[in-house]
């Protein structure tokens, strides 16, 4: 049985004038110890997906339909008390900005002990011992001293390590990391990602990594979901998606990266912008930006189809593939 199974999840936001569908029929599975990347541009619904797994969608948003089965229990219909036993305990979340995730008026020690005591019946001294062990796991120098420090006394990279340590405190089965290194520098990002990967592998923890950076996803994950305007448009093994993207949007995203083009040459660009969720066009949401769009794309929304190696939601993908077949044979 998979650890997490999201089935036909629909999340809506009831705004004054209209109801916006932020997530439209999202389905995916995550096995124990598996690492999944969710990529897409801002507003594609990646973060909402992360939040809704923990049932953290708040007013005016709501889960309209679908199931979120974590170890067989449905998070979408669970009581608040039951949710509390899972949040932070069996599923931990790491947020983007380490400057605002930690409480500025509590010491690191207080925040770690609080987390432990909320879920386990532990004395303060025992909780601190566990906290020190976890801080050591994330390579924090002099962890005993850190417990007495406040967040502002630490650098961004150090804070993000502490947040990872807090996430690991209760030995969760799943970590959801929402753009965990976007606010950090490249050298620090590389350290944090290496650390996260090591910890997930050695503790057999599953990871959902939400990011806009295809390079990071390629280094960190085994499976990838590509999201566009609230829908999954391509899903499959990360290697397949990075090396041979099928959906025109994924192809465009990868081709637009500067490292894919010779220096000084024009980058291949996707025209236009992603539509706001309040104004998603009829048919395929990507059709106004797609060079292969047909009348069918403009009128009918494509369903996600299993092509064997990957799943793709595109009417034209079969035809595009036929055209590309001779190339694949030679390769």
């Amino acid at each position: 049985m998979s650890l997490l199974s999201v089935r036909d999840l629909v999340v809506k936001f009831a705004m004054r004038k209209q109801t916006i569908t932020a997530l439209n029929q999202i389905s995916f599975e995550l096995a124990r110890g598996e690492r999944l990347g969710i990529v897409g541009e801002s507003g594609a619904g990646k973060s909402i997906t992360g939040f809704s797994i923990l049932n953290l969608i708040s007013q005016p948003g709501y889960i309209a339909s679908g199931n979120i089965l974590f170890e067989g229990q449905d998070m979408a219909t669970m009581s608040a008390a039951d949710l509390r036993t899972i949040r932070g305990n069996r599923i931990a979340m790491i947020f983007q900005d380490p400057m605002v995730t930690l409480n500025p008026v509590l010491t690191i020690g207080q925040q770690m002990v609080e987390t432990l005591q909320a879920h386990r019946n532990l004395s303060r001294a025992d909780a601190e011992k566990i906290a020190i062990i976890k801080l050591r796991e994330v390579y924090i120098p002099a962890p005993e001293d850190r417990l007495k420090q406040y967040p502002h006394e630490l650098s961004g990279g150090m804070r993000q390590r502490i947040i990872i340590a807090i996430a690991l405190l209760l030995d969760p089965q799943l970590i959801i990391a929402d753009e965990p290194t976007t606010a950090l520098d490249v050298t620090i990002q590389a350290d944090i990602m290496e650390l996260l990967l090591d910890l997930c592998q050695s503790n057999k923890v599953s990871l959902i990594l939400i990011t806009h950076d295809l390079g990071v996803v390629s280094q960190m994950t085994e499976k990838t979901l590509v999201m566009y305007a609230g829908k999954i448009i391509e899903a499959g093994p990360t290697r397949e998606i990075v090396n041979d993207p099928q959906h025109p949007y994924t192809q465009g995203l990868i081709k637009a990266l500067p490292q894919q083009t010779a220096p000084g040459e024009r980058l291949s660009q996707i025209p236009g912008n992603m539509p706001p969720l309040s104004d998603v066009p009829d048919g395929c949401a990507f059709h106004p930006r797609c060079e292969y769009a047909t009348d069918l794309c403009r009128s009918t929304t494509p369903e996600i189809e299993d092509l064997g190696r990957v799943k793709v939601a595109c009417h034209e993908v079969q035809r595009l593939n036929q055209r590309a077949t001779p190339k694949e044979d030679s390769a």
Partner: protein
């Protein structure tokens, strides 16, 4: 640099330094140390003794991590900050000491693009007003029709429909706003553009659009760029030369191809190894120890000493100077100079 010294220098920075006082005013400088009252001024050393030239027609990229002084450098060159020490020359004329009025013709020649297009456009001005203003300021006595023609021409050249001119910035997406910000810089026909992280606030597919636009402007108008960024893949694509900064000092300066093929400074090597690659499955990431020290009390000697695997006694005592390498790169490192590996 190499033997292409024939290209004239557009900008020359000599021993450029910028310090920001942390303790302003008399009372803030009074401190108690070991039971005695002393006066002490703390300063942030943002840019330290930088010598750099920008040649006509090139795109010089400045890379480094946050707090390394790269944005301060851009603002110094643009004349938005006054250097604490050192000189800035524009085609041979010293510009850092010019009065506001005398600086005006140079402001027309150099324009700046900022990181956040949500903050850099005035929310209360229509696009048309925002774009016309610089044209009027820099071309005294120009007629209204000429201004409108100029603005419409520039808007078309950056792919913004001139019929949108009466709209306000909030009606546009981030990518469109950055195009408008670029258009605003282009309205006065500058020859030198300073771009401070112009694409880091944008989504991947939009980044490509804006980068292409900047490349186009470079080719069509013969622009020279000073491009500030932390994104090395953009540097490799856009830059002709790269300057790597660490803690306010220049570590390495080289042609883009040379730098990426053969980085020499230990910090450059670590920085390049940290970029997540799309295809490569096994990255050889060089782990740096510790984190960037604060620029308030700079260490004596090499600024990179605390994180460098090759640091020795000399690095702790003596600040390295930039040395020309056989392939044309300038590297400030004792280890490279001595051939330590």
């Amino acid at each position: 640099m190499k033997d292409d010294v024939l290209a004239p220098n557009l900008i020359e920075m000599k021993n450029l330094e910028k310090r920001f006082a942390l303790d302003d005013g008399f009372l803030e400088t009074v401190k108690i140390r070991k039971g005695r009252i002393v006066r002490e001024k703390r300063e942030v050393h943002a840019v330290n003794n930088v010598n750099l030239t920008i040649q006509k027609g090139e795109a010089l990229c400045v890379v480094g991590e946050s707090g390394c002084g790269k944005s301060t450098l851009a603002r110094l060159v643009a004349g938005l900050l006054t250097p604490s020490n050192g000189e800035i020359h524009y085609e041979g004329t010293r510009i850092d000491t010019l009065s506001g009025r005398k600086m005006l013709p140079y402001r027309k020649k150099m324009q700046m693009i900022f990181q956040n297009p949500y903050a850099s456009l005035n929310a209360r001005m229509t696009i048309c007003q925002a774009l016309e203003e610089p044209v009027r300021v820099h071309n005294a006595g120009i007629s209204g029709a000429e201004v409108r023609d100029k603005v419409a021409e520039v808007m078309r050249s950056v792919g913004v429909d001139p019929s949108w001119a009466s709209r306000y910035p909030h009606e546009f997406s981030g990518g469109q706003r950055q195009r408008i910000a670029i258009a605003r810089a282009l309205t006065v026909d500058p020859e030198f553009m300073i771009a401070d992280e112009p694409i880091s606030a944008l989504d991947v597919s939009i980044q490509a659009q804006v980068l292409n636009l900047m490349l186009e402007a470079k080719e069509q108008r013969g622009l020279t760029y000073l491009f500030i960024t932390h994104d090395l893949s953009v540097v490799q694509h856009f830059g002709t030369r790269v300057a790597v900064f660490y803690l306010g000092s220049l570590c390495e300066l080289a042609d883009t191809a040379t730098l990426f093929a053969n980085p020499k400074h230990p910090y450059t090597k670590a920085l390049l190894s940290a970029v997540p690659q799309l295809k490569d499955d096994s990255p050889q990431h060089i782990r740096l120890k510790g984190e960037i020290p604060t620029p308030i009390n700079l260490p004596i000697g090499c600024p990179f000493q605390s994180r460098c695997a090759q640091a020795n006694a000399r690095c702790l005592a003596e600040q390295p100077v930039s040395m020309l390498q056989p392939d044309g790169a300038l590297v400030a490192c004792h280890a490279v100079e001595e051939g330590r590996e």
